[in-house]
Structure formats: C-alpha cells, structure tokens
C-alpha cells in the first residue's frame, strides 16, 4: 500500500464508521451496551455500600488480600471483585434476548458479551493470583503484563468488528530507510518491544531468584549474570524486531556508520562508559555487594549498570553514581576482591611501667568477646613502640564484613577505655 493509498484507506475508514454510527441498530446496540454496563456498575456500587454497612469488618479490596483469611473473607472479596462483570453479563444477556425478540441486530451485544466473559476470566485470574502469591509481585505482573494484554485483546476485538486488521496493518504512514513503515510495523515496534522488555525483566528476576535461592550462588555473580542476560536478550529482541519491521541492514549500517563519527566525538564518554561497563561485567573485577574505596570513601557496590555503577557510601548512606570508565582510569581499592575479610588495627598507648602481660591479655579478651570479630584468624596484640612515658600496643583483628569496620572499631575502643580504667591501667 502506498502512502497515498494509506491516507485514502484511513479516510475511507473514517467515513465508513460515520456511516455505521448513523445506523439505528448500531446506535441502539451501543446504547444498550453502555446502559447495561452503567447499570451493572451502579448495582455493584449499591451492593458494596450495603455490604459495607452490614459487614463493616470484612475486607473488600483485592489489594488487601492477606494470606491467612477465612473462606468467608475470600468469598466476599471475590464477590466484590467479580460483581461488575457478572452483573454486566446478566443484564446484557437479558437485553440481547429482548432485542432479538424485536428482530433487532445483536451482533455488537454478542461481541460485548464475549469480551465480558474474557474480562470475568481475567478478573478471576487476578483474584486467584492475589490470593496465592505475594501482592507486590502479582501487582507487577498485573499492571505491566495482564492489563496491556487485556486492553490489546479488547481493542483488537472491537476494531476487528468493522475493520480488516490485516489491511489496517498494511497502512503506510511513512517510509523509513527506504522501506515502507506500516502500522503493523509500528505495532510490533512498540507493543512487541514493550512486551519483550517486560518478559525479559520477569525472566531476569526469575533467573536471579533461581540462582540465589535454588543453587545458593552469591548475589554478586548472580546479578552480573542477570545483567548480561538482560542486555543480551534485549539486544537480540531489538535486532529481531528491527529485522521483522524490515529496516534494511545496508541502509541501517550506512546511517549508523555515518553517525558513528558523530558518536565518536559527541558521545565519546557515553560510549567509553558503555564499553567499560561490558568489560567490568565480563571481567568480574567488581560485583554488586563489593566493598570498595573510591575517592577516599568506603562504599558498597549496589547496582552495576551498562553505563554507570551505583555505590552506597557507608559513611552517610548516600548513593553515588560513578561512570564505569572511572574504574579503569583510577585506582580503586576493593576489600572484597578475593574474600570479604578485613583486618583492622587499633593502637593504644599505655603509661610506661604498665603490666605488659595484663595489657596484652585485656586487649585479646576484649577482641575475643566482640561477636563481629573473627576468632580465625585470631586477633593479635603487638608492642609496636615505647618511650619514657608510654608503651604503644596495637590490636589487630579481622572482620567478616568490612561494612561494620567503623562501628566495630568504635565499640572496641570504648571497651578498651572502660576495661583499662577498671584495671587501673593509665592511658597516655
């Protein structure tokens, strides 16, 4: 179909629908559909109001479904949730029989009944999902997947009543890269891509759950793998969809080739970060959950994106978005490279003449009693210096998680001060 023919087709479709809307039987059916659904809505509203007064403690909304409700509660929520489609179906069936007796057309009513049955099934599915699975997860599926599918189904059903969808899909509003870009292509490019992205995200979360819960893989590698999986699948989807849409490879290559010069200069940093991100993920030098020191701040890696990495600064809980390129151009200290053990030292100056053994024992005892200090490797106390007035001791201990470094150091320092005072060891 040429662009001119496409405009003609759209114009003809508009006139055709104007002709339909002029028809008495169409007007009557639309009025009947809107009227009965409106009546069902009012009926359901009245019922809910009566029910709330009669049983004020019973939950009515599906989002308030709890796991341990009684059957009575489940039933009441189900009635509330399914009442509108059920009433609409009853009223529409009744009205369609009435119209049939008058030998009026009921094809639109039949379609409305068909759509309402699907709607009832859809609501029942949602009710079952909310009853059986955690609400937050179901809500994601509900809003991102089920609602768009139902809306598309209804739209398709209504459009197919009066329009040849195959012909509609062939309408060419514009030409792209020398190829006709049809409404069908637009549909696949938008909705196809949307559903692909949604499905990939769900697959990714499922994958991470299986990896972390099922085979007890560390969160870091699991997340890195899922990111690679996500971008891999998304890239594949985009390539497939562009291929289906019919964008010519040669034209696409020529345009992207030309753009690449501009990209090279203008988006140099973005591209550099993008490549760095891929390298970081493949190299595995950094993983979500790692504790690193960046620009003098101890931070935890939260998320690794393809362009930037998000870290949480342990000092003030703020988050920093660090371009991936930085991990290749600046020195970064990681405390969790090969393992997560972190050694900390606290220096204490006791007054000259203090009992060396007592100080050593007290320090070891304090370290041993602190739960977050590891017993293996064992804490060590060393005498690292002395002078006329003081003896300098160093307590070295290991922590399993570097995030607790400041807190543990502070707690142990407090304890040393208190214990030394109790044992009359003077600190200089």
């Amino acid at each position: 179909m040429s662009i001119k023919d496409s405009f003609q087709f759209i114009a003809d479709s508009l006139v055709k629908h104007a002709i339909f809307f002029q028809r008495f039987h169409v007007q009557m059916q639309l009025f009947a559909i809107v009227g009965t659904i409106g009546l069902a809505w009012l009926g359901a509203r009245w019922f809910r109001s009566w029910f709330s007064k009669r049983f004020p403690d019973v939950p009515k909304r599906i989002h308030r479904l709890e796991q341990n409700l009684s059957w009575w509660h489940y039933g009441s929520i189900a009635i509330h949730y399914l009442l509108i489609p059920i009433l609409s179906l009853i009223f529409l069936a009744f009205v369609s029989q009435l119209l049939l007796l008058q030998h009026w057309r009921i094809g639109l009513l039949n379609t409305a009944i068909e759509v309402l049955w699907v709607y009832l099934g859809y609501r029942f599915l949602l009710f079952s999902l909310y009853s059986l699975f955690p609400k937050d997860i179901v809500r994601q599926y509900h809003l991102r997947l089920l609602v768009p599918i139902f809306v598309l189904y209804t739209l398709g059903k209504v459009l197919s009543l009066s329009t040849n969808l195959v012909q509609l899909a062939q309408v060419v509003p514009v030409s792209l890269f020398g190829s006709p870009f049809t409404l069908g292509h637009l549909f696949v490019l938008t909705f196809g891509l949307y559903f692909w992205v949604v499905i990939v995200i769900f697959l990714e979360s499922l994958f991470v759950k299986i990896l972390t819960a099922g085979i007890h893989l560390e969160t870091g590698p699991a997340q890195a793998t899922s990111i690679l999986l996500r971008y891999g699948l998304l890239g594949m989807g985009i390539v497939l969809i562009l291929g289906y849409v019919g964008i010519k490879g040669t034209a696409f290559a020529a345009i992207t080739g030309g753009l690449s010069v501009g990209i090279g200069f203008g988006l140099q940093q973005v591209v550099s970060n993008f490549i760095s991100g891929i390298l970081l993920l493949f190299e595995g030098a950094l993983r979500p959950g790692d504790i690193i020191s960046v620009e003098g701040e101890i931070s935890e890696v939260k998320r690794m994106g393809i362009r930037a990495t998000t870290v949480r600064v342990l000092r003030d809980n703020s988050e920093k978005i660090i371009p991936n390129q930085m991990f290749f151009t600046k020195e970064v200290t990681t405390y969790t490279g090969s393992d997560r053990l972190t050694a900390r030292t606290i220096q204490v100056k006791a007054k000259s003449g203090s009992d060396l053994k007592l100080v050593t024992d007290l320090l070891l005892q304090i370290a041993a009693q602190y739960p977050k200090v590891l017993s293996d490797p064992t804490p060590i106390v060393s005498l690292v210096g002395f002078s006329d007035s003081s003896l300098t001791f160093e307590l070295k201990f290991w922590l399993a998680d570097p995030r607790y470094d400041s807190q543990v150091t502070s707690d142990i320092s407090f304890e040393i001060y208190r214990t030394f005072a109790a044992n009359q060891i003077q600190v200089s």
């Binding site: 405009f7 003609q8 759209i10 114009a11 003809d12 508009l14 006139v15 055709k16 629908h17 104007a18 002709i19 339909f20 809307f21 002029q22 028809r23 008495f24 039987h25 169409v26 009557m28 059916q29 030998h103 057309r105 009921i106 094809g107 639109l108 039949n110 379609t111 009543l161 009066s162 040849n164």
Partner: protein
C-alpha cells in the same frame, strides 16, 4: 492530508445531520443525490480499477455523494456480510453472485427492491430471472459470466499458413483447422491434427455440451427439468478423453497456466479468465463460441453478478443505491466496462457491441444468447442436483458407471426434487 480533511468534514456533516436526514427529511428529488454509501465488491486488479473509476465518475456527477468501496475476497463475501449485518454493520450495497441471494434472504439481510423504482427493461430477462426470488426482486444485475472457447490465434494461424503452403491439406479436409471449431467433430479433428484442447472436467464446467445432444434444463414451458442429452454428452466426453491431445483436468488453474504459456491451442475457459489471457497473449488471444450443432448450439450456464441492498441501509442510502445501480448498468457504463476489462458481459439489452471493435465482447454476447440461466426460484432445488451431477460425472469419467446409468440417476434425482412440494 486533503483526503483526511475531506473525510473528517464529511463525518462532521453526517453526524450533525445524519439521523434527521435519514428519518425525517422529505424525499429528495433523484437529481439531488446526497449521502454516503458503503459498497463491498469482489473485483481485483484491472476490474477493481474499472469499478473504482466508475464510482469516481458517479461521484463527480453527484458532488454531495461519497462512496466508500471495499474489496472483500469473493469466497468470504456472503458469510462476512451476514456476520457484519447481524451487528448492524456491513455495507449498504454488495456485489456478489446472484446464487448467494437465497442464503442471504434466509439470513434476513437483503431488502426486497421496489420494482417500480427500477427500469426493469434495462436488464436482460436471463439476468433478471437470477435475481428474482418468489416474485420479489433482491438484486440489480451488474454483469454475467459464462464458459466460452478461448484459443491461441498464433497456433491456429500457424496451421493456416501451413495449410496454405502445402495447399494439399484443404483437399484432405484440413480447412476446418484454419478456424476455431464450430462443431464437436471439428474439435476432435483439431485435436487429432495436433492442437491441444483443454477442458475443466466438472459437471458445471461441461454443462455446455448437454444442449448439443438435445438436453435442456427446462422444457418448453420453462418448468420441468429435462436433461436426457447428458448421457450422450458423457459418452462423447469419455471418448474425447481418450484423444491424446484433449486434456480433461479438474484443476482450473493448471489449464489456465498451460493456456497462458501457449501449451494449449483451445481451452474452454470462463469469461472471467479472459482479462488474464489478453494480458498474457496480447493479440494472439481470441475467443469463439463453444462448438455445437447448427440446430443445437452449446448451452453454457450463465452466472450473474448483482448489486444487493442490505436491510441496514437507510431510506436515503437505498435511494442512492438505486441511482448508483442504474448508473452502473446504463449502456454507456456497461460498454465502458466491456472495453476496459474485455471480460465484462453486459446485462443491459440496449448495449450494442460492434464485432470489429470489440470482438471478444461480441462473442460473449453471442454465446450468452444460447446460455442456460438457472432461475433463483429453482436454485434451491437444483443446487443439490448439481452436487449429485458432479458425483455422477466423476463416477462416469473414471468408469465406475456407464453414461446411461449416470443420466438415468440424475433424471430420477431431478424428478424427485421437482415433484416434491
């Protein structure tokens, strides 16, 4: 954009005025045609273009009329029409074979036309009998189609040249090979002389030969079915099938392709195939009347396409549809369609075609004069007979039963169908 703007304007105008115009305005004079009309048609390629050109011409003459035409595949037309009608949708006017009318009437989808609003003399009686059902008129004939003898002039003229060159052939009775065969005997002679002949081998496609052997669908009173010549025709067909150059095949498209590629000299074609052949073979393509006997010409079945009015059409659209139908079937339009498509068989008896200007159309019109037109009133009873005929035809061709047995069984079936109330 201009088209869209026009469409939007017409929607606004129609939505603001539609209901009142349809239901309360006094009837307009015919020359003040106004409104919108949705038409479904099964025309493809050149025929679709010709049809659209005709609609455009009508719109040009009636500035306030907007016609939207939609192509629907022929096989889907009536089923989709019924389905859409039941929703209050579908076209105001549909073009389909008249044989679909009974089913559409049973689905209560068609309007019985006001016979006083149409000039019935503008249509051939043969065409009218195919749109009249139990006394009411349910369609306005648009054009007809039938079987005719298509031939490749290049192959036939080669023969002509060869005969002239040797000059001996004529002495041996080969003069009959220089022109299309006019009798069955000549057809066999052509086949034996090496000119391949293709025939679609079904009961309906071979119906044309029954009349040659004295058989008729109707008797002199145009009432009782009468098919006694079928047995002899079957016998001839069985003998013809043994001729090496006569190809009887069930697949029309195979023979169609063979003729297009110049592998067949003669082919009993459907008139709807003419446009394809003309395009493929150019001036080498020609048609002739089907072979017959001087007193008993061939009688192919005539099929008529008609404009049918939906019961969903408003009174205004109905009036508009009458006008449009009369426009499409006026002699000028019918000749124009015939000139452009070359396979258009007019239904207006006032159409006069010059044999020299439009040789193909002239032959089609000539052939139509001896064609058999099944009236719509009889169609319900005859359709099962056609199915039965097809079964018996197949059994005879493969040798399961004799032509005489097949004929006797078909006549019994006909008698049963027409004797029953």
């Amino acid at each position: 954009m201009k088209i869209l703007a026009k469409a939007l304007l017409s929607i606004v105008l129609s939505l603001t005025a539609c209901s009142t115009v349809v239901w309360h305005q006094p009837p307009r004079a015919p020359q003040q045609a106004q409104g919108q009309l949705l038409i479904w048609h099964p025309f493809e390629n050149i025929n679709a273009r010709i049809f659209k050109d005709a609609l455009t011409e009508y719109e040009r003459a009636h500035a306030d009329v907007h016609i939207v035409s939609e192509y629907i595949p022929e096989a889907d037309l009536s089923t989709r029409f019924i389905r859409q009608f039941q929703a209050g949708l579908g076209p105001d006017l549909m073009i389909d074979f008249a044989s679909e009318i009974p089913a559409l009437i049973r689905a209560e989808t068609l309007q019985a036309l006001d016979q006083t609003a149409i000039s019935l003399s503008s249509y051939t009686p043969q065409a009218l009998t195919q749109v009249r059902y139990h006394g009411d008129l349910y369609g306005i004939p648009l054009n007809s189609q039938l079987r005719v003898l298509c031939y490749n002039q290049a192959i036939v003229e080669q023969s002509n040249t060869a005969v002239k060159a040797t000059n001996a052939g004529a002495a041996h009775g080969e003069s009959s090979l220089t022109a299309p065969p006019t009798t069955l005997e000549e057809l066999i002679q052509n086949a034996r002389a090496g000119y391949s002949v293709g025939m679609v081998s079904t009961f309906i496609d071979t119906f044309w030969g029954i009349q040659i052997f004295g058989g008729q669908l109707y008797d002199v009173n145009h009432r009782l079915p009468f098919l006694k010549g079928w047995g002899e025709w079957l016998t001839w067909l069985r003998q013809a099938a043994n001729e090496p150059n006569i190809v009887l095949g069930q697949q029309r498209f195979v023979l169609h392709d063979a003729f297009t590629q110049g592998k067949l000299a003669y082919y009993v074609c459907d008139s709807t195939e003419v446009a394809d052949f003309k395009q493929a073979l150019k001036d080498n393509f020609a048609v002739a009347r089907l072979p017959g006997e001087p007193d008993h010409p061939a009688g192919p079945l005539l099929f008529t396409r008609a404009l049918m009015l939906s019961r969903n059409a408003s009174p205004t659209q109905t009036r508009l549809a009458y006008q449009l139908a009369q426009f499409l079937t006026n002699p000028e339009q019918q000749i124009k369609s015939a000139v452009q498509s070359q396979d258009f068989l007019p239904v207006n008896p006032d159409v006069v075609i010059n044999h020299h200007v439009l040789p193909i159309e002239a032959v089609l019109l000539e052939q139509a004069k001896t064609s058999v037109s099944i009236s719509l009133d009889d169609l319900d009873k005859i359709e099962p007979i056609l199915d039965q005929g097809e079964i018996l035809f197949r059994q005879t061709i493969i040798g399961d039963i004799t032509p005489t047995e097949a004929n006797a069984q078909l006549i019994q079936a006909l008698d049963r169908a027409f004797d029953s109330p």
